[in-house]
Symmetry: D2
Subunit: 345 residues, 4 copies
């Protein structure tokens, strides 16, 4: 059961709900999201039903969770949602370009990549400080030092930051620097981590597990939502199949299928799904044309020196061309590229 | 080893090549394709190398097959090919809309579907007279009676016919009615059938096996090409994965990958890959945007009565909308929808 | 609908059934299998229901096909079947060892391999004269010359022959030499070929398609059975998955699952599923222990010279060890290795 | 780089190594495993090479990690390892039966299940107190209360406990109760969790990720080993494929493949791979016959009331039969069922 508080709700209203739930033997997880405060209840639903929660001060809605993924489902929320990241929208009216280096390596490399991203037309900066790697002997990221670099580059460029968190333990730390937390494909069923990001008031980008069905992906989102955080963006990044010509197989159909089942925004990662630079532009065209709400792109000022995933990173000219094509295609879908929307407004 | 004859080559030139190859202990498969005559040689390549075939009258080129799929490979043929089906092009400058009923059921149903297809903007009519079905108790198609219906509808509407052949035995019969022969996903490694359609002078649409790698798909095309028929169109129709939300998983990346490896045109089947009517339009947008050379679409005047694959068939209004979207998108790729190209010309 | 004739049925009885079905507008496929004659009816089942076929002379049973795979299903045939190949049983009381070269190359290589097989304890000789190969440039087998070699080696060794047929056209020819026809994984949904082997009076080994569900595999068997041939042995040979350490992934669970759904014998191909010599023995142990009715093994007197699949072929000592292990394990399952059963009897 | 300390090494020896590594700008992870103390070094390998670590007091070996999975690889450790859990061996000379309820529900259900397990011949008790579930609304386990129940049942029955940990945060707590920590399939690339169990002195059972290649599985084990814990048992539990007749596809070939690549013991989970009670016994036969070092089995006194995975749990008689079959098969592989080995000794 989930309680949605209205915009006028006070801290006292929230406390009152928490208290009454505790008295009834339940547990309440409060989260002040960017756009709403939500209280997730765990315990005896029958008992909660007797509490007249809907009548309490500040309570806007009480949602009984009867279907498997009630909170992220479109059944109870027919309008598609827009999630705002440092003021930048990801949602049904726009197409958002997120770009940046796969891994933060040095201040200069990160700044150069961010400047490339911004001047091409990107609205958000991606960059990894914590890198989950198959081998324990591979470069695992700079950790907090990387987060500090990202924060400095944000100050310099004005681009809000999207960065991955790989350990429930680090969620607070990462959230203190980042504008959006990314959950990677290998953590798509790391439920402790999902719950941790569900309890923090920052938007989350949830990558699809490379072996997750669409149903399981939405369930993972439900884990986040259940702790009160509905500012979730789903990201399709390819699934594992028998085909080896591409790193993973981009499941382009998952975009309309997930948008039909869930009200959450859905974006596409053309860089990691293909794993090949020459596929990034064509896959981006497909993503925008099918109706994705954005794309997230690896860029690197010097891909040949990249510590991670260099072969798929775009260079400056490629990214400008990609943004140009996004600008051309978006209007056919009744959308605008986000930076342009802001520029025009 | 393959000998490509020049346009000026006479029957005598061809006979001379066949004879000399036979004398050298080899076997020669002659095929007069629509655009060129080709002679595929099987036997001792070393021996053939001593024959000075390149110097013979009418011989334009001798290709030694050293890589795995030499004839369909782009390595030796950097320009992308255009295949013409009853005068209708499928190739790099255009986008071709093929539409029609999954199965030919009655003259009236086929004619209505063809009229829907034509008035929406389709240039080729698809329709199955021989239906490979998982169960032996399912409707298997009308056979030759279905082919006759298709031929009548072609006369009525002017649309050239694409139809499936499932048995090497039937290739001549089907080719006597059809403008293009279709090889279905279940026959993607039915080598006897591939060789049979390779020996007949009609264009072939080769669907990707639902478990075939892109490499195996091109090898299957090579089986056809080796018998002298290079008028082959590749069709991506989804691969088998763990995801069950869609019938198969459309491997949209396969379009640019196959176009980079092979000079053959590549089209997409959004109807069979998704298996859901609501996905046909979005998948078509993705296909055109990524650079597919055409799409093939199931339509039915009355999908609820269809004997085969009704749930994915488009009705009249849907198909018009789909063609409208294709018209909008094509120019962004520097292409024209085929019917419009002809209309304008 | 399928009519099973009794052992006493005369040719006249069969003709009478065919005639009455034809009069009712139906088509009858007669097949004298090794153990029974069956007439498959295609047409209007309602109409056939009015014919009192069950009362006709020589008719033992009339089976209405209402479920998807009625004829091979265990629902209507609870006892598991034994199929006999040149007198050698494959069924629930025994374990049958089939061995031989992947491809027939020369008389000497085939004879040596057969002698290895026989002296180790194999009861049936496998060997390919027609080889379906992914590449058109790979060795495709000796064709009829290979069949003649196999027949000579049968005369020499007394081992009945199992060999693959890849083209419906060749079924009669191959059946004139072979004791058992093999349908390979790439032809698992080549329905014309399945129907052709269903119409010939020889046992069939049906390999599972590398992308076929167990349900689809049984449906393919039903295509054969529907034409009157119930002497079918199913062969699990690995499915295609993301794992690349083995050529395919042996789906060992498919053995008990298929045996529960169907009365047909189920054997395992450890050579092709793993594609590695070192896995043949362990996979054979697993196959016998789980209850497979036999195994089919690649052997070659000189694997390093093999034209096809050398890396997985066993040599002499390996095969003896494999047979020894099969002898040890079989009694724990209440079975005997076939050769020993015959020797003891 | 990893330093293996000899059995005679003192705390002072260990401290000295840690200090010198720190002085050289590196980081040292010390871990006192059950059978050896290991110090994993992270930092500049070149620099470490100058330190003459091999000459220091108490140091038995210095392993340079040059291949991808050096520590778990059989290259440097040709003899297969035995891991001891509360005195119970899992290794190449024995077959170990681990049984117990999927989830700990009540003291009585857990005790009954443990008594079933013990009297049948199991040597270790499995039971989940923390359950990772696809849906946030499914039963997630009793948490620490469940651990206390397990500890009580251990006291009662003498069976050491294997139980899952799902959060790096909980590793110390779970390790304070458990004899062996289990990492589940969904956490197979949860690197923070792998590192956490690598730093604690308890044996670990590492389930294969349902989408992990064998290579990735060994890499996950390397993450644990790198922190100094080499008491790792690999558990094959089925991979995700297109087949839906079983919950997952047991990759039986993975057992010999992993045993060839790694010196770690490899066991099989027949309950979760098949997801069907009728497959548990046949899959166990296959597992023992192929050479698995043990099996882990779901049992439940009253499966129809189970809160989790009831359909696959064995009841009392089934488990006795399973142990009987394991006793019969083990000697053929030169092994003994563990309980019997102890009983005989």
């Amino acid at each position: 059961m989930v309680i949605v508080m209205g915009p006028e709700a006070t801290q006292g209203d929230v406390d009152a709900v928490v208290q009454i739930v505790g008295t009834a033997g339940g547990e309440a997880f409060v989260s002040r999201g960017i756009s709403r405060t939500i209280i997730g209840l765990v315990g005896d639903i029958e008992r909660f039903g007797t509490l007249n929660l809907r009548g309490m001060s500040g309570v806007a809605d009480v949602i009984k969770v009867s279907t498997a993924h009630k909170l992220v489902s479109r059944d109870n929320h027919p309008e598609r949602s827009t999630v705002r990241v440092g003021g930048v929208p990801i949602g049904p009216d726009t197409v958002t370009l997120i770009a940046g280096p796969c891994a933060v390596e040095t201040p200069q490399q990160t700044l150069e990549a961010a400047q490339m991203a911004k001047s091409a037309g990107a609205s958000l900066l991606r960059g990894g400080a914590y890198k989950p790697r198959t081998s324990p002997y591979a470069f695992q990221g700079l950790g907090e030092a990387g987060l500090r670099i990202l924060a400095d580059v944000r100050t310099e460029t004005g681009l809000p930051i999207v960065t991955e968190v790989v350990d429930a333990h680090d969620v607070e730390l990462v959230a203190s620097y980042a504008d959006m937390l990314q959950i990677g494909t290998r953590n798509a069923q790391n439920f402790a981590l999902l719950q941790a990001v569900g309890s923090i008031g920052k938007p989350v980008m949830l990558k699809r597990g490379m072996n997750a069905t669409i149903e399981e992906w939405l369930m993972a989102a439900e884990y986040i939502a259940q702790r009160g955080n509905l500012d979730i963006v789903l990201c399709e990044r390819g699934i594992r199949t028998f085909e080896t010509a591409t790193r993973n197989t981009l499941d382009i159909s998952a975009v309309p299928v997930a948008q039909r089942l869930s009200h959450l925004p859905v974006i596409v990662d053309p860089s990691h799904s293909g794993g090949r630079r020459d596929l990034v532009l064509p896959l981006t065209r497909a993503a925008v044309a099918i109706g994705a709400d954005g794309v997230i792109i690896d860029v690197h000022p010097h891909p040949e020196q990249a510590l991670c995933d260099g072969p798929q990173a775009l260079v400056d000219g490629d990214l400008r061309e990609l943004a140009r094509v996004m600008r051309q295609l978006s209007p056919l879908l009744g959308r605008t590229l986000v930076g342009d929307a802001l520029a025009t407004a």
